[in-house]
């Protein structure tokens, strides 16, 4: 008899949520077709150190080594609860009062419930609707909302499969992802130092060994190393922070909250009001300039337009010197602390660390703090040993090399089968951004079986930036600058450097394009718009707009935008399918691994790829053939492996047995002498220019001066902007009389954006949810005890966070960890609409974030640092909502997981009543 303590099978499955890349591998045990446990993978189980050649860093007599196992995160450990979540979409669903042949009731989206239908019926309805839309309006009538992040799947990716099918049908309107994680860098920092494509410092080569050797202070500016990196890979940043402390490097945290990194790693916490960093930065520059504390010689050789910057800082431009006194009133940091920080920084060798920047570069006018940070680094001679801007996640992304010395001998690249973010026809060189989606010549030779599948499909002809979707739908048009394709350029040259394409950011764009249709149908595989993007309440109104005749969603879980869909397709999780996983950036080793089903698909769910194949089948056999390339899921896994080139190292047969191939690291000699960061620019700017037009650090942005010289929201020299046409979100605003708190919103501690809100074991943790007196698990809103007291709010009270854009209900989390005049809610909590477009019980704080973009010429989103008020919900108000919206309050909730499928299915009684 099988020992019950030995699982029936053990698989390797990734747990990263940063799809398309899979991230760190985990061991998943299952017995009786059910997952029993999820554990970290240990590299030394199959590989000796001799094979992996683990990387090390040495500094000040201490050594930091690659971890011998995947430093798993809470998301991986809790994922079993997500696979078996009561929130899973178990079978195809149709909104009960949406009749494709009769009344469609768009106004009831977000309110009406769903009935189960067969796969056959669901696929037939969608195929017919696609054909109808195409015939009536043209193919561009269908907006495809597909985007990055999601489970890290490769042969059937979470995002982009509908794009593939729609391309075969003749086109669609593309939803273009704005640079959501990099807004300030992309729309600001680039104009100072180039650093294509996103404006964070590049290259990141060997930064951590260099910091360990040379830095004596680290500024974690709006950075939480114990939060942001967790959804992307591993806990390596946590280990690095402990090591830096051991080395005697001082950690200074600048943020409104004592974030989770600061709570355990900070030597000094400098609290600051949200989105006021510009004031602090300008005052630091003021001290350095007036006290002669900056690297003058470096600035002379490396900077352009520094005199104009000095004019602004000293007040020669506007009559207002940016003194510490001036700054203190705006940012809330004490005058003496500002001066002390400026002088301490001036005598230190300091680097700035980031997740990606989070709320620090995701507020109104985020171009400004991002530009100023680079300028301050410039005044400290950025590129000098120990003086860098370093990232704590996405270590493979964009960069020539890695900040930790763990480059595999080669990158086992898996080409993406679907193309959610391709450039639009005619806008940019088609080669740009496409290298992810086409086979290289070498891959073609290795795996000719894939050539048909990767046949180039026509590019879409129209797009809408994701941050403009709601306005585009409701107003029927939209205008913006730039963003022709995600990140402007991802086309590397021979050195894997990215080409500068800044001018694309200024081009005037519009929707709809001449001769092309407005959007009348939406197909989404990324249904998180209402909780992750700007003004989620407005988005809900757009979903209810009569111009939208059909909404299709495909997702493993019934959440967020799904409640507004007319047809919902059930999708499997990674644990229920065959795939080829790849870990390129979690920070341990580069690896590629064979993922096999740990359990049967939950309900009638299919992979994203097969969902679209079902629709393709209804369109006709020629569509099905073209869509699938006549390859099954397991065949794709086989041939994808072939294409990687790993067979030169491990045969397919052996790979099937081992299930993982860890790419050996390069030798120390190959890696350790690569210049760290911008060292070459530091040492010889003439011969190693930046990609800015002048080749230098531009304190006066020549491109802004050329293309939009009169933009008061983003001038050639970065400014403190009190208010403007786009935004009025300062404490000095008249609006602050009604909405006196600046709301900050971070990446979630217990979520990866909208993912993992339903893990029942994290929901028990005090900082994840607050149980209200009604038993509901509310999203916490942090409040300083003094602000809570002023409002008569006690820890655990049900409160409303609100402004003109509506109300979000939260649970009060009263804590010393947040400064006064502020409240804080993580983004990504699942929507639970009481009044769609106005009142949310689920704590989706993005429902009430600003509608306007970063600034008028910066097409990003502003989702932190905006005005709200927080009040206790009175019993009278509560009763009136319950009286007026009984159906919304009557929806069934799971006591542990919260909103769930059962709450949105028509009950038997309701079905009978309808009959």
């Amino acid at each position: 008899m099988q020992n019950k303590f030995t699982p029936d099978k053990q698989n390797i499955v990734s747990f990263s949520l940063m799809g398309p890349e899979s991230g760190g591998p985990c061991l998943v045990d299952s017995t009786d077709e059910r997952i029993t446990r999820i554990r970290p993978y240990f590299y030394d189980t199959e590989y000796t150190d001799k094979h992996c050649n683990p990387w090390t860093m040495e500094a000040r007599g201490k050594t930091f080594s690659a971890p011998d196992h995947v430093t798993i995160t809470p998301f991986g450990l809790g994922y079993k609860s997500r696979v078996y979540s009561p929130n899973r979409v178990r079978y195809p669903l149709k909104r009960v009062d949406w009749d494709p042949n009769g009344e469609r009731h768009p106004e009831n989206r977000g309110k009406s419930k769903y009935v189960r239908i067969s796969w056959d019926e669901a696929a037939e309805i969608v195929a017919k609707e696609l054909l109808r839309q195409k015939e009536k309006y043209g193919p561009e009538a269908v907006l495809c909302e597909a985007d990055m992040h999601g489970e890290g799947k490769n042969v059937a990716p979470s995002h982009g499969c509908p794009n593939r099918l729609l391309s075969l049908m003749g086109g669609y309107t593309l939803q273009m992802r704005n640079m959501d994680s990099w807004e300030g860098w992309f729309w600001g920092a680039k104009y100072v130092w180039g650093c294509e494509p996103v404006g964070e410092m590049a290259p990141q080569t060997n930064l951590y060994p260099d910091i360990a050797k040379h830095s004596d202070m680290l500024l974690f500016w709006g950075c939480d190393p114990e939060t942001t990196p967790r959804g992307f890979g591993m806990n390596l940043p946590s280990r690095l922070c402990y090591w830096f402390t051991e080395l005697g490097i001082k950690s200074v945290y600048i943020s409104p909250d004592l974030n989770y990194g600061a709570a355990v790693h900070a030597d000094k916490w400098i609290p600051i009001l949200p989105n006021t960093d510009v004031a602090l930065q300008l005052a630091i520059a003021y001290i350095w300039i007036t006290e002669d504390l900056y690297e003058k010689e470096y600035i002379e050789k490396h900077a352009y337009g520094f005199d104009k910057f000095v004019d602004y800082v000293l007040g020669r431009e506007d009559g207002v010197p940016k003194t510490p006194q001036w700054a203190s009133e705006k940012c809330g940091v004490k005058v003496w602390t500002i001066k002390a920080l400026a002088r301490k920084w001036a005598k230190s060798t300091a680097s700035i660390l980031h997740g990606n920047g989070g709320p620090y570069i995701r507020g109104p006018y985020s171009s400004e703090p991002a530009r100023l940070e680079v300028m301050l680094l410039g005044m400290r001679a950025v590129g000098k040993p120990g003086v860098h801007q370093a990232k704590m996640l996405e270590w493979n992304l964009w960069n020539r090399d890695y900040p930790v010395p763990y480059q595999g001998q080669f990158v086992p690249k898996i080409t993406a089968i679907a193309d959610p973010l391709r450039p639009v026809a005619g806008d940019v060189d088609p080669i740009i951004n496409m290298d992810r989606f086409v086979l290289t010549e070498a891959q073609k030779q290795r795996a000719p079986e894939l050539v048909e599948l990767f046949k180039q499909l026509p590019a879409p002809k129209q797009f809408i930036p994701r941050c403009h979707i709601h306005k585009a739908i409701l107003e029927g048009h939209a205008e913006w600058r730039g963003l022709q394709c995600f990140s402007s350029s991802q086309q590397p040259d021979a050195n894997n450097y990215r080409h500068p394409t800044q001018q694309y950011q200024f081009e005037e764009m519009q929707y709809p394009r001449e001769g092309l249709s407005r959007v009348h149908m939406i197909w989404t595989d990324a249904p998180c718009q209402v909780t992750c993007w700007n003004d989620g309440h407005l988005m809900q109104k757009a979903f209810q707009d009569p111009s939208i005749e059909c909404i299709v969603a495909q997702h493993p879980w019934l959440e967020n935008d799904c409640y507004f869909a007319d047809i919902i397709f059930p999708v499997v999780t990674k644990h229920e399918m065959h795939d080829l996983g790849n870990d390129l950036s979690s920070g341990g080793f580069t690896s590629i691994y064979l993922e096999e089903p740990c359990c049967p698909p939950v309900g009638e769910s299919l992979s994203d790829f097969d969902v679209c194949a079902k629709v393709a089948e209804k369109l006709g056999p020629e569509y099905l053939r073209a869509y699938t390339g006549n390859l099954s899921e397991q065949e794709r896994v086989r041939f994808f492996y072939k294409a990687t080139g790993c067979e030169d190292y491990m045969t397919w047969e052996e790979f099937k047995k081992q299930k993982i191939f860890v790419v050996p690291c390069k030798t120390k000699e190959e890696v350790e002498n690569l210049p760290a960061g911008l060292y070459e620019f530091y040492a010889d700017p003439e011969n190693n220019p930046l990609s800015t037009p002048t080749g230098k650090l531009e304190y006066y942005a020549t491109q802004i001066a050329e293309f939009t010289p009169d933009d008061p929201e983003r001038m050639p020299v970065p400014h403190w902007i009190e208010r403007s046409e786009s935004h009025d979100e300062r404490l000095s605003s008249p609006r602050a009389e009604k909405y006196p708190l600046l709301c900050m919103s971070n990446h979630g501690r217990w979520r990866m954006h909208a993912q993992c809100d339903d893990i029942i074991w994290t929901r028990e943790i005090e900082t994840m949810k607050v149980r209200g007196k009604d038993g509901y698990l509310y999203e916490p809103v942090w409040l300083n005890p003094k602000e809570a007291e002023k409002r008569g709010i006690r820890h655990g009270d049900i409160v409303k966070v609100f402004n003109e854009r509506g109300i979000v209900l939260c649970g009060a989390y009263v804590t010393e960890r947040l400064v006064e005049q502020t409240c804080y809610v993580d983004h990504g909590s699942r929507l639970d609409p009481i009044i769609p477009g106005y009142l949310d019980r689920g704590g989706a704080i993005n429902c009430i974030t600003p509608t306007a973009t970063t600034s008028k010429n910066a097409t990003g989103m502003a989702v932190s640092g905006f005005l709200v008020e927080v009040e206790k919900v009175t019993d009278a108000e509560w009763e009136s909502w319950k009286r007026d919206y009984p159906e919304a309050f009557a929806r069934k909730l799971d006591p542990d997981a919260g909103v769930c499928l059962a709450g949105w299915l028509l009950t038997e009684d309701e079905m009978e009543a309808q009959a």
């Binding site: 995160t73 809790g78 946590s238 280990r239 355990v264 510490p324 029942i760 929901r763 010393e816 960890r817």
Partner: protein
């Protein structure tokens, strides 16, 4: 042979992996005769507790994972009228899920609050040290294996440094290293010039007191002080009138805030 847990609080990042790994292993999984399933939520065999110290901006957190101490002389074992509790040769203490009748006496007897009562099955339940895994080839309990920073260790007592263990705070055979003591901290500044005072001499008198100088931020910290001790603090700097504080009690951590020093 005696298995122990060693937890270095100075390396605990508060990630909650230990708490979650325990849930993943035991919720919904039946490991009889070692343990019956833990209820899906609401019960914690390994619970991370958060402790907050001080106030803005001298504020810190520390976390302590709390689990069964697998005591040398388990009080629960002695208290159990059914003989359902067993101390194994390796030191782990197991409540036999099939013998336990749910009288709840052990829960009340446990000095560490480590035993929970499962109302659904009417049995007492707690951490097993993942004995079911150790007996079948695993080296570590799930909580320890999942710890990303190396803060949590597990093994035979002989494998650990005796001197390290001597300094630990014990809850049974769970050894906690570096649980932070109380602190007294503040910032000194000149209110006229609006400058921090660097190098001010701060002298703390009382148990484990001492002298430090304010740093580049004008900050001073006295750390790891005993609880409930009383202190006096003198701060002096050239050209300033000295400051004196009496009766500082470390009942709680003390952030004295931003302290103005007047020019002499």
């Amino acid at each position: 042979m005696k298995k122990i847990f060693v937890i270095d609080i100075a390396r605990c990042s508060g990630c909650y992996n230990c708490q979650l790994a325990c849930k993943d292993e035991h919720c919904g999984n039946d490991w009889r005769p070692y343990a019956a399933p833990q209820p899906p939520t609401g019960m914690f065999w390994c619970r991370v507790k958060e402790f907050s110290h001080g106030s803005i901006p001298k504020l810190r957190l520390h976390y302590e994972p709390l689990l069964c101490g697998h005591c040398d002389k388990p009080v629960c074992l002695g208290a159990c009228p059914q003989g359902a509790i067993d101390k194994r040769d390796d030191g782990l203490v197991i409540i036999n899920p099939d013998t336990c009748v749910g009288c709840d006496i052990c829960q009340q007897a446990c000095p560490h609050g480590a035993i929970s009562f499962n109302a659904m099955t009417s049995t007492a339940q707690k951490c097993t040290g993942c004995a079911h895994l150790l007996d079948h080839g695993a080296k570590l309990p799930r909580c320890v294996e999942a710890c990303p920073t190396g803060a949590m260790r597990f093994g035979d007592i002989s494998e650990f440094d005796e001197k390290e263990l001597e300094k630990a705070t014990r809850r049974g055979n769970v050894y906690y290293l570096n649980i932070p003591g109380r602190f007294i901290a503040g910032t000194v500044y000149d209110p006229i010039e609006e400058e921090v005072v660097i190098g001010a001499k701060c002298t703390l008198r009382g148990a484990q007191g001492g002298a430090v100088q304010t740093d580049d931020f004008g900050d001073f910290w006295f750390e790891n002080l005993p609880e409930d001790a009383r202190y006096t603090l003198d701060i002096s700097a050239e050209g300033f009138r000295p400051l004196h504080f009496d009766g500082l009690s470390t009942e709680k951590d003390i952030n004295l805030g931003d302290l103005p020093m007047e020019k002499a």
